[in-house]
Symmetry: C2
Subunit: 160 residues, 2 copies
């Protein structure tokens, strides 16, 4: 059994038929083969996308229970109560799910200086410049400003 789904059974509704999943009121999130569902956190006020992370059933249940984002860290293989280290908690304003219930959008109030462990407000601080005949695709900074010093906030290594 995969470590991300060991803790507790899935507390959500069983997956029904297509009509029920798409048009129903039962919350039956679909977790992937690793027991995870992607969750994109957006600032509820500015609508800035902040980060994309993953939840397992138990971290989603905890998120709903405490009203703060709790992810599953795939690299550390542990629960990740965002802000537990940095103070940069994400208060849940609303959680949306999509038609087939295999993705989440978290509308959050981002507490503190920012969501990104690099010291920026958002993890999405670079835009992709398309390839041309002469050059491959590259990145351009949309936001270079650090809103906090990651070493002061996280020490090392950065852990959310």
């Amino acid at each position: 059994m995969h470590s991300s789904r060991m803790d507790t059974p899935n507390p959500f509704a069983p997956r029904g038929g297509k009509a029920e999943i798409e048009e129903g009121r039962a919350f039956a999130p679909k977790f992937d083969a690793d027991g995870l569902i992607p969750a994109l956190a957006m600032d509820a006020t500015t609508r800035e996308p902040l980060m994309l992370a993953y939840m397992n059933a138990e971290s989603l249940r905890r998120t709903l229970e405490i009203g703060e984002a709790v992810y599953w860290s795939r690299s550390r293989k542990e629960y990740w109560h965002k802000g537990a280290t940095s103070g940069h908690i994400q208060r849940i304003v609303e959680i949306r799910t999509d038609c087939d219930q295999d993705a989440l959008v978290l509308l959050v109030e981002q507490i503190g200086a920012g969501a990104c462990h690099t010291g920026r407000g958002s993890c999405f601080y670079r835009r992709v410049v398309p390839q041309t005949a002469a050059e491959s695709a590259k990145l351009e900074f949309a936001d270079t400003e650090l809103t906090f010093d990651p070493e002061k906030v996280y020490g090392k290594p950065p852990v959310g």
Copy 2:
């Protein structure tokens, strides 16, 4: 070899060290074990989240080339030029990637009546109501309005 990465080699930069990935200008997207990266499409003007889908390296390359969203359909195992059937094309305004380059946000101009095959403007038309001591978590419609008739646009079965 997985079907989603059969077509062409990855045309993007090789993955470098952490500093290069996080602070560099080389675009080195990280594809998962299935060769996919999640992409959240948002309306560039209203900032409404529209849908979350996946791209493989070739669909990302095509997206950058033509300036319209081309996903990889995990269920149909084929390229999915969004709007090819429905006319509901997503014109790319900007693509952002995150600190570790394993997720994308597409800021798009959604052409036509909507992004969702159910007939709605956005796939994220329901919010999650947290569980209580007495009841499990359930869904509530944030948006019930159909902006188009999916049968007229897609026929059957709906294919994006």
